[in-house]
């Protein structure tokens, strides 16, 4: 607002990008990181809506005991596809969406190091996702094995639908897409930083993307391998996981979680990065403890490779103290991040436009998710909570209260940069409050349900005292989350109907993307400010005052 009066950086030049819009072929063939970022953003958001509708369907079924709307088979497919979509077709590509759009801009580059590889990774992801969803067209229906696909239940003998094969193949493709993207982000961060931008002057978002990318390079090949082994078991007579042929079902769990736990941080770190960008801007202060945050990010990344078997405590096939201790330890750097965000807000000059509301909501909700994570990291406690709604509540606390709130903070924050238009504040506030209240109503009752022993992945449950009430509250909350999307979508549509009116730096922000026009020209920059700290645009703005 005030920044629009004092433009810094070059003006104009945004017409070049707008002039090209509407030409479908240029979108299909684009290698521009910004357009690929937008494609990722729109596609993964589309998958998010599908996954969200599946969740609303499940919540509707669970409102009261008994089977009202769906049968078991439909329900099993719904939670399988909901989890798969949210993890692989929404969460992971959403990382690629933000990273594609922002990494070159934040490091002051014209594009990614490998633009065509970048386009390839988007299209692999999109078609992989469509293949996963196409399971619904198979005779036996979509995959019905849970997003974790535990063997032997996912072997052909027990899951006979072709949907499960499509699930395997589609996920393998999206996995390759993710790996290609990670190579590109890593190379761009190492190779394309503008003169003056040392690693320790790099925006926190880029640091988080760097660490998440390296995690992807370690974790995703394990998934790809496991999926290939499962496909061989199902269709080509192998028996990697079949105990009657000498295979081992626990091997799948090791491979899956060797990918799956780093994946949790792949879905968390980039959005930690967004929070680390948003909070300083609306606190009018630098990030508290930048170096500590870098250290914490690297530590989380390294440590997340050694905690995978805490998903397997109840198998009795692993070393419990080792994985308990490593899982506890990772709470320390995560705590450092939370304290540093609060430290940034402390003694700041806070304003609360929608991005900051989501960032603040993130802190509160993520703290609960982190604490309950420490509870389930203790094997004696996990023996009770494993596979109950306590775990469901915990993981949604981290991935919705954490990651999705971070995503919305990022969308509201960078929407002016991407489109030249602001999202309406009143609709944004409506969106935020319905999501905050909706989240609390949906997920906090699930902790109690889990403590009472309600297992997950049940379409029906016993009418034990309190369960119907808690489930009904949870369903009402989920409805609020669903309705909360209406003001958001309305804000996007209304904004896109207006002419662009945002200056280069509408929020008075810190990193290089705010130096160029909104939206940026094709090659991003016509000039760069001197980079002498992690806040070059702040430095330039202050030196002009």
């Amino acid at each position: 607002m005030t920044a629009a009066d004092t433009p810094i950086g070059p003006a104009g030049a945004s017409g070049a990008v707008r002039g090209e819009r509407g030409d479908l072929l240029t979108w299909l063939t684009t290698t521009d990181h910004k357009r690929i970022g937008i494609l990722y953003l729109v596609a993964s958001f589309g998958f998010f809506l599908v996954g969200g509708l599946l969740a609303l369907g499940m919540r509707a079924e669970l409102t009261v005991p008994g089977l009202q709307f769906v049968d078991e088979q439909t329900y099993d497919q719904a939670f399988t596809m909901h989890g798969t979509i949210m993890m692989f077709l929404f969460g992971t590509p959403m990382v690629a969406a933000f990273a594609n759009y922002l990494v070159p801009l934040q490091v002051g580059a014209a594009d990614m190091v490998f633009p065509r590889l970048n386009a390839l990774s988007f299209w692999l992801f999109l078609f992989g996702g469509v293949i996963v969803l196409s399971g619904y067209l198979a005779v036996g229906g979509a995959a019905d094995v849970g997003w974790t696909g535990y063997v032997p239940n996912s072997e052909l003998h027990f899951s006979t639908t072709t949907g499960t094969d499509l699930w395997i193949v589609g996920l393998a493709l999206t996995g390759v897409a993710t790996i290609l993207g990670a190579i590109n982000f890593t190379a761009t961060i190492y190779g394309r930083r503008a003169p003056g931008m040392s690693m320790l002057r790099m925006p926190m978002f880029c640091w988080n993307i760097l660490v998440a990318s390296i995690l992807i390079l370690f974790a995703f090949p394990a998934l790809t391998g496991a999926l290939a082994m499962l496909l061989f078991d199902r269709r080509f007579g192998a028996s990697f996981f079949d105990p009657s042929e000498g295979g081992d079902p626990v091997l799948w769990q090791h491979l899956f979680w060797f990918f799956g736990h780093p994946e949790v941080y792949i879905l968390a770190l980039p959005f930690f990065g967004i929070i680390s960008e948003v909070i300083p801007v609306f606190s009018r202060k630098p990030l508290f403890g930048y170096r500590a945050m870098v250290f914490a990010t690297i530590f989380i990344g390294a440590y997340s490779m050694s905690v995978w078997a805490h998903h397997m405590f109840t198998t009795a096939a692993i070393n419990l103290p080792f994985f308990a201790l490593s899982s506890f330890i990772i709470a320390v750097p995560t705590g450092i991040k939370i304290f540093n965000w609060v430290g940034t807000m402390f003694r700041g000059k806070l304003t609360f436009p929608t991005p900051m509301l989501f960032a603040t909501g993130f802190i509160y909700l993520f703290v609960i998710g982190g604490i309950t994570g420490v509870i389930v990291a203790s094997p004696p406690l996990d023996f009770h909570f494993q596979d109950t709604y306590f775990v469901v509540a915990h993981l949604h606390n981290v991935l919705v209260g954490g990651s999705v709130f971070g995503i919305f903070a990022g969308v509201y924050f960078w929407f002016p940069k991407i489109t030249g238009r602001r999202l309406d504040e009143r609709l944004g506030k409506l969106h935020f409050w319905s999501w905050l209240v909706g989240f609390i109503l949906t997920f906090l009752p699930q902790y109690q349900l889990g403590a009472d022993g309600m297992p997950r992945r049940y379409p029906d449950y016993a009418a034990n005292p309190g369960w119907t009430e808690l489930n009904a509250i949870s369903t009402v909350g989920s409805l609020l989350l669903g309705l909360g999307m209406i003001p958001f979508l309305a804000a996007v549509v209304l904004a896109l109907r207006r002419p662009p009116d945002q200056g280069n730096d509408p929020w008075e922000a810190n990193s290089l993307e705010w130096w160029t026009t909104s939206p940026p020209p094709h090659h991003n920059f016509t000039s760069l400010p001197p980079i002498r700290s992690e806040r070059p645009v702040f430095d330039a703005r202050e030196s002009r005052r």
Binding site: Y150, F288, A316, A317, P321, L325, L350, S378, F383, G450
Partner: protein, 250 residues
């Protein structure tokens, strides 16, 4: 005006309410092991409540007290403080080491195997039901009725429960035991429980095992040793080998 003490009381009440809301209360424990788990959980929740209170308190304080007013200059551009970073790194390290010590202590109890269990119960899971048998006695209970089979066990003595599966992975879960164990085909695993209180306790499958995963209930009826002996003697016994399809050997 609200006094400082009123405010701190409100804070404590809020934190307690939050902790209960967020973490949930466990069911009353029915085994000696579960009592230890309940105590450990209480410690975790108490520490969690204190940490949540500190973070929420500081964040809420900042939100309420550090708002930008029109015309405010930039705040002090503090880049952080090494001392503060050290404090909020060191204290959590100490806390998690404490939690780890508590975890090890309770794990030692929950994971202990008594060399002379009073009774051994063999649990074989299959799609979609359970077979309970008492090795050496020839007694075996299979049930796929709506309520599932019932295992009768004596109270007040260590019971060895061996879990196995015929097909996919299931999990043997009794909520009031605060314990579950996966039933994995090709492996057997055992754990001990000592049931405190007579009663009938429901259980169910906790690992997704296919379409009727939610229809695998069972129950445990805990009785005195005398009643248990009487019950066992009254059961029809199959001539060995006991009924039921073979389980893949580990």
């Amino acid at each position: 005006m609200i006094t400082r003490s009123q405010r701190s009381i409100r804070g404590v009440v809020l934190a307690a309410a939050l902790a209960i809301l967020a973490a949930g209360c466990l069911p009353a424990p029915a085994t000696e092991e579960a009592q230890q788990v309940t105590t450990l959980y209480g410690v975790f929740v108490a520490i969690a409540a204190v940490i949540a209170l500190i973070v929420f308190g500081l964040a809420t304080w900042a939100i309420l007290r550090h708002r930008q007013k029109p015309g405010d200059p930039l705040p002090d551009q503090s880049h952080g403080s090494l001392r503060v970073e050290f404090i909020w790194t060191a204290i959590p390290v100490l806390i998690i080491l404490g939690l780890f010590a508590g975890t090890l202590a309770v794990l030692g109890r929950v994971d202990a195997h008594n060399p002379n269990p009073g009774v051994e119960l063999r649990v074989e899971a299959f799609r979609w039901g359970w077979t309970f048998s008492y090795p050496g006695s020839g007694v075996s209970v299979t049930g796929i009725t709506p309520d599932g089979p019932e295992a009768v066990l004596p109270v007040g003595e260590p019971i060895k429960i061996v879990v196995a599966s015929h097909d996919v992975i299931h999990a043997f879960f009794v909520p009031v035991f605060l314990f579950k164990r996966d039933a994995i085909p090709g492996r057997e695993s055992a754990f001990d429980v000592t049931i405190d209180e007579p009663g009938t306790y429901r259980g169910q499958c906790a690992e997704f095992c296919g379409i009727y995963h939610s229809r695998m209930p069972f129950s445990i009826r805990a009785v005195s040793r005398a009643e248990f002996d009487q019950w066992l003697a009254s059961q029809p016994r199959a001539s060995p080998p006991a009924e039921g399809s073979p389980v893949a050997s580990p």
